[in-house]
Structure formats: structure tokens, C-alpha cells
């Protein structure tokens, strides 16, 4: 579903991405796991045709991200890391607006967003800027889903969201996976990484390893680990894989 080959991207001095290659299968929840500044957002922007890579190629849903960007933009849903809806528009107005610019209506794909949107529907006349963090994020997800995209790009969707809402959010992603939507999600949280089908650990623009979370723990975890949760075990792997600081 997503094919990335040897992508390089630099901003002046900083090499944001170095020789990144990965493949995401249809209907998979794929996690990009890494600290701030690892290059996650840059990769998202390249895949959503918002940035041009310096070299390398990428296809999403068999569409080339540079050449076929117009067609591509019809088939993807993108939720940037920052809350990017109109805070002076109400919940319903936001959703209506995004439905219209994707050439659809709320009614057409209501069943898809219903499990998410129904939770914020009681507040549909409220301005988006006045919503709580968790509700903002549900609205943003609804807006990104309203046109039933083939691939969903979620850039740190749970950053700054309370634990309960985070848990709910991942339940929703699971449901979307069952609808056949491919999801590429980035997160700095290791417990969330455990919920992905496969993950890529990314650090300073380089992918260190790609595998299922459990396999990564088996391969790179500490032999006599004191970690009490899989998330902690994964974090240990991350530290083990870190390139030695010069």
C-alpha cells in the first residue's frame, strides 16, 4: 500500500531523512516510533505530497507521490501533528466543510465516522477551538476520515491527549483497520507502539529496524530485563539501538 525507497531529505544543514525505505501492507497499522526531531513529520509530508524528497521514490496506493500528487490527494486522509481545523467554526461546520472539499457529504460516509463522531455530536454547535484535547482529536480524525480514504496518515495523533482518550483513540484505529483502511501513525509513546501491527524505529532520520513490536523486543531486548510492561521493554530496545553518541 505504501512503498518508500531510499528517501533522502535535507533542510539546509540538517539531514532530516537518510536513505529511508519501508513498505506498509494493505490494512495494516504501521507505527513510526521515534523521538521529536527524528524525521517522522518530514516523512509524513513527503508521503502526503506536501514536500518533495531530495532523492528516492515513494508510492501510496500505487500512486507516485510527486507525479500523481493530484490524484493521490483524493485518496488519502491526513491529520497533521498540530490541531489544524478552524477553531472559529463549529464542530459541524468543520466536518461539513471538509466533507464538501473532498466532494462528499457527512451522510454518505456517516457509518464510517459514526463510532467517533457520535461522541462529539452532542457538542456539534460548539466552536472547535473550545473543545477539549480529546474531542479536538476526535473531530480531526472525523474530518480526515470523512471521504473514506484508502490510507490514513496520523502524525502524533495522541500527543497532548489524556490517557483515557488515548486508549479510546487506539480502539477506533483498530475499528478502522477492520474497515480495510491502511494506517500510518507516528507516536513517541512506547505503549502505543505495542498496539501497532508493525513498527519502524526511527532516529535522527534513519530507520534502525522494522518488525512487529514483539519481534523487536525478542531481538533487541535486554536478556535479563526488569521491564514490567512490553512498552518499557520496547523502550529498552530503543536505547540499545541508539547509535553511540560521539
Amino acid at each position: 500500500m505504501i512503498e518508500i525507497q531510499h528517501i533522502d531529505k535535507s533542510y539546509k544543514e540538517v539531514r532530516a531523512l537518510q536513505d529511508v525505505s519501508l513498505t506498509v501492507e494493505q490494512g495494516e497499522i504501521f507505527g513510526l516510533i521515534g523521538p521529536d526531531g527524528a524525521g517522522k513529520t518530514t516523512l509524513f509530508r513527503i508521503l502526503t505530497s506536501l514536500l518533495l524528497a531530495d532523492s528516492g521514490t515513494a508510492t501510496v496506493d500505487a500512486l507516485e507521490v510527486v507525479k500523481d500528487f493530484k490524484e493521490l490527494r483524493k485518496h488519502i486522509g491526513y491529520m497533521p501533528g498540530r490541531f489544524s481545523l478552524y477553531s472559529d467554526l463549529s464542530v459541524e461546520e468543520n466536518l461539513n466543510f471538509f466533507a464538501t472539499i473532498f466532494n462528499t457529504t457527512i451522510e454518505e460516509n456517516y457509518s464510517l465516522i459514526a463510532p467517533i463522531y457520535s461522541q462529539i455530536e452532542p457538542f456539534k454547535t460548539r466552536r472547535a477551538g473550545k473543545l477539549s484535547g480529546g474531542m479536538k482529536q476526535k473531530l480531526a480524525l472525523s474530518c480526515a476520515l470523512i471521504h473514506k480514504p484508502a490510507v490514513l496518515f496520523l502524525d502524533e495523533p495522541t500527543t497532548g491527549v489524556d490517557p483515557v482518550s488515548r486508549k479510546e483513540f487506539w480502539e477506533m484505529l483498530k475499528n478502522l483497520k477492520h474497515e480495510g483502511i491502511t494506517i500510518l501513525v507516528s507516536t513517541p509513546y512506547m505503549d502505543e507502539a505495542m498496539r501497532c501491527d508493525r513498527i519502524a524505529l526511527i532516529q535522527q532520520g534513519r530507520i534502525m529496524t522494522i518488525d512487529t513490536p514483539q519481534q523487536i523486543i525478542n531481538r533487541f531486548g535486554n536478556k535479563n530485563s526488569t521491564a514490567r510492561t512490553p512498552g518499557q521493554a520496547l523502550e529498552e530496545c530503543f536505547i540499545n539501538l541508539m547509535p553511540p553518541t560521539p
Binding site: 491526513y78 481545523l85 472539499i101
Partner: protein
Amino acid sequence: MKQFFAFIKKEFYHIFRDIRTMLLIIGIPVAQILIIGFAVSTDVKHVKTAIYDPSHDTSTRQIIQRLGAGEYFDIIRILQSPGEIDDLFKKGEIGFAVVFSENFAGNLYHTAGIAGQARNDNAASIQLIADASDPNQGTVATAYASNIISGYQQELMQQQSIPLMIIPEVQMLYNPSMRSSYNFVPGLMGLIFILICAMMTSIAIVREKETGTMEVLLASPVKPVYIIVAKMTPYFILSWVNLIIILLISVYVLRVPIAGNLVWLNVFSLIFILVALSLGLLISTLVNTQMAALLASGMGLMMPIMILSGMLFPIESMPKALQWFSCIVPARWYISGVRKIMIEGASVRYILTEMAVLIGMFIAILTISLKNFKTRLA
């Protein structure tokens, strides 16, 4: 098309829900035109006046009395020689001076006999000298004085059967071209439309970049031209509302009449508004923060308009290089066109050049902006 209308609806929501923006759009033009309009047309009162009267006869004394009687002139100095006048003006002690000719009453009644053949050398003449460094005060003061003198003249004529001649000789110091207050309305219109349209559109587009919503819009199938035109439409409509308000104020409050064709004045103004909107668009493609957009449209556009559009300084008296440079200032063409059609009452064929230039500018700026509008980030 549905996408497009959804966009326009959204833009109107943005505008109507932001009270400060609304006040800015409607309030600033009204405030500006009222402030400048009234500052320019206020009554002139208590002008410090000096008199030089070498003849000391009944007529001059009566005229002086009348000048001093009203609240317009405060006679503070009776001069011994006309040579003092220049000095007093330069010191700023007086704003107006009246100089009678020698043997005033004698000449007055003498020339009456040979009416119609009055010559300056022996006519009863009064020199009115005004400090026109403030041109408005200068004109108004001379107009008052001329009125008082001709009123006196008419009274005399009712008493006498023969016509009497007093020739007021008006001399404007420091600003001989005397630009009338009428000229401020077209200038102000040019300024306001550039400020409102260019500033508002550029800010509206850049705001989407700043809040991150542009990222979502760009990742959607919506056409860039929709985003742009939808941004311009509400401001185009609001500018038209502004135009109507400004015209109403200038006609009914400032008493500046519309001498020419109202329809063409509207058409011409709307073309200029389009130029201003496309300028705002151009700015928005060049900057990334609302602050930068504000500075670019505020400073980058306002200063050239104030100085080079002919609003404050006549273009004809500029150095050649600046005259050429002023040709690329859209407001120069607009102000010149509005002066012709609104103040002088010229028909539309006299502003065809201005119209053509503005249409050309609109097409050029819009093309550049559309080319410049990025379909990706950074």
C-alpha cells in the same frame, strides 16, 4: 463548484465571527474619511491678521472693522510698512495679511466714474496674503475676506447709483497650486482600498499557513485556484460595501459631489479593488506569518501610495525618475481616474488609459500570484 461555495461560506464565517476584523474592515474607512474629511474642511476661525493701511480713510476703516467684527479674523497688528509682513509670516505670528492700496477711498469713487476701465495702478485694490503652507486654511481665509469685501462693495453700490470697483488681489504664499479638499476623497479611496483589500486578503491566506490548516487544505483535492478566489470573494464584496459607504459619506457628510457617471465610478473602483486584492494575494504567496503580511501590506504598500500616488504631492512636480516610478503604483492611476470621473465629471472615455493600465496590472499580478502559489509546503 460546491467546493468553491463551501469555501466562500467558510470565509464569511471567519470574517463575521471575528468582531475586530469586522470593525477593521468597516470602521477604518469610515473613520479615515471622516477624520481627514473634517480635518480638511473644518471652519477657519480666529486667524491672526495684520493690516497695512496707508490711506486711513472711511472706506478702509469700515472694511477693517468688518473684517475684525466676525470670529474669522483677529486683527492683532496694524503695520507701519508692508515690509514687515514677510517677517511676521516667517515668525508665524500671523496667518493672514490685508494690504490696502494708497488713496483707497479716493480711487474707489474715482474709478467708479470710469467703470469697466479700472486699472490696477489707480484702482482701489486690496491685497490679501495668506499663509498657504496649510493650503486649506489659506483658501478658506481668503474666501472669507473676499466675501466680506464684496459684501461691503455691494452695500456701497446700493447707496450709489454708479458701480464701484474694489479689486481684491489674492496672493497665496508657499503653495501657489492650491489643492482643494475635494482632491482628498479620491486619494483616500485609493489608500483605503489598497489597505483593506490587500491587507485583509494577505492576512487571511497567511493565517491558514500559520494555523496549519493550509497543510490540510493542500493535502486535499481542492484546487489552489478555488482557495485563492474564495479568499478574495468576501473581501471583494465587503470592499464594494465600503465603496458605497465612502461615497455616501463624501456626498452627504463632506459635501463632495459626484460630478460624473456613478455606474462608471463603481466599475472603475471595482477594477481597482481587484488590483488591490491580487496584490494581497501576491504578498501572501511571499510571506509566511501574519505579522510579515501586515508589515508588507501596511508599510510596503501604504508609503508608496501616500507619496507617489499624487494623493499628497502632485506627480507633475516630482523628479522625472520618481514620475516614472509612480507609474507602477496602482493607486496613482486610480486616484487620477477618480478625480476625473468623480470631481471633474469627465466621461468614461477620458479614463480609458487609467482603466486599461489597472486591468493590465490586475492580470499581471494575478498571473504571478497564481504561478507563485505553492501546491506544496515550503
